[in-house]
Amino acid sequence: MKKYFPSAAFMAAFLILWQFLVFLFDVESWFLPSPLLILKTLVESSDLLIHHTITTIYETLWGFFASVVTAFILAVVMDTYPTIKKGIYPLLVVSQTIPIIFIAPLLMVWFGYGLLPKIFVVALVCFFPIVVSLVEGLESVDPDMVNLLLIMGATKSQIFRKVRFPAAFPSFFSGLKIAATYSVMGAVIGEWLGASRGIGYFMILSSKSFRVDRVFAAIALISFLSLAFFGLIELASRLAMPWHYKNEQIPQELYDDTNE
């Protein structure tokens, strides 16, 4: 917790400055609302916001989940068949150069205006960091560990399960964290382009009616959701890899008793 203190302090200072400047220059609220007004709007439109947020969360979670599953399968296939990896991996990188904002409208054309295209956008945004981190994680295994298992007479599948996959965990989880921060934004972009529910839709409506305070309230909510999701993944990573977070070595002299 302590390590977040400096950034929290900076954030607070920024908000206070913002509040003060809006007050000092008497800025109209349709132009730039003050932080306190945004907070007030958040509370006042909470019923409406919750309704939209639930949709966005739903899209985000499904998209993220779909992305993890496909990324996992593809990473394992690429890892098992180097030829497939040589063929697909560069294409994956190229696919990232296509702006998602231009793909999203096509998804609307193909899948309609329901939830599916939004889930698709989230999955597309999350997919790349997850698959790359997993492939790199599987590659990063210490070859001597693999040799040790080979000498013990291990099969290919044992080697995957007992060494390569667990060795990929730290990298895999950093990919998941990056994906988690993108995911909410992916859902909002999808909603932005055509929806009848969701935070993105709420933002469109608000900005068209010059309710800038509501736009900012939505932005704050998106940030909060992304952070919460990130925190959730961080928590999962701590639960899945307790060993990764335990690094305190006990000094030798405190317990070494082989000479007794």
């Binding site: 000498i151 070595q249 006990i250």
Partner: protein, 252 residues
């Protein structure tokens, strides 16, 4: 009777036009319950020999026999301990040491029980459920040795297991290794470049030459067991050390 017989093993590596003769016509053996060491200049191909014995690489010629059976190129026949402890960071100590049983399909419950009983002897009691990152170098090495031991093979290959430890820890570990070895009557083939270590531990020592490695000398260590640290001042100890030095110098 020989537990392991290495007969006329040679290996040459060809890579991008260059030829590297690693080992040439190596023959050696380890008898049941014997402690045998290999010393040689670093980079002389000792590890290549271990890779061949453990089945990771095929020799160009020659064969490996364990208990008379030809096991050349076969894996899963020896217990191997590398210089790096290679404990899996995501497994607790107890889960690390039963790895061999897990691979061989022996019920893990039984293996864990046995491992727990051996923890005190290996100086790991109280650390069964710790992660390797929480242990000191000496303890990790002992855990790696327990893992090797629990593979339950007729021969243990130890590849410079104490090479990275400080002198004091190293000497404790040597003494302790001898205790374990005497107690369980295992057969050990031990690689080191430390002459004193080889003499202190072994019944016999093979001296390898520089690349391509050949067996340059085979020296018997006639020192009584159990050995204590004081043995290093024994005239016979110094005599053997001198002979080993001479053989090593001739081989370079």
């Amino acid at each position: 009777m020989a537990v392991i017989d290495v007969k006329g093993v040679s290996k040459t590596f060809y890579s991008s036009g260059s030829i590297l003769k690693a080992i040439k016509d190596i023959s050696l053996s380890v008898n049941r319950g014997e402690f045998v060491s290999i010393v040689g200049p670093s980079g002389c191909g000792k590890s290549t020999l271990f890779n061949i014995i453990s089945g990771l690489q095929l020799p160009d010629s020659g064969e490996i026999r364990i208990n008379g059976e030809n096991v050349t190129g076969k894996k899963g026949k020896v217990a191997y301990m590398p210089q790096k402890d290679l404990l899996f960071p995501w497994r607790t100590i107890i889960d690390n040491v039963v790895l061999g049983s897990e691979i061989q399909g022996i019920p893990v419950k039984q293996a864990r029980k046995e491992a727990l009983n051996l923890m005190p002897l290996f100086g790991l009691q109280g650390f069964e459920h710790s992660y390797p990152s929480e242990l000191s170098g000496g303890m990790r090495q002992r855990a790696a040795l327990l893992r090797t031991f629990l593979c339950k093979k007729d021969i243990m290959l130890l590849d410079e297991p104490f090479g990275r430890l400080d002198e004091i820890t190293k000497s404790k570990m040597q003494k302790w290794l001898l205790d374990v070895w005497e107690r369980f009557q295992t057969s050990i083939l031990f690689i080191t470049h430390d002459i004193e270590e080889a003499v202190f531990l072994s019944d016999r020592v093979y001296v390898f030459s520089d690349r391509p490695a050949v067996v340059n000398a085979e020296i018997k260590v006639n020192l009584s067991r159990p050995r204590s640290q004081d043995v290093i001042n024994h005239p016979e100890f110094l005599n053997i050390k001198r002979r080993l030095w001479k053989a090593l110098k001739e081989s370079i």
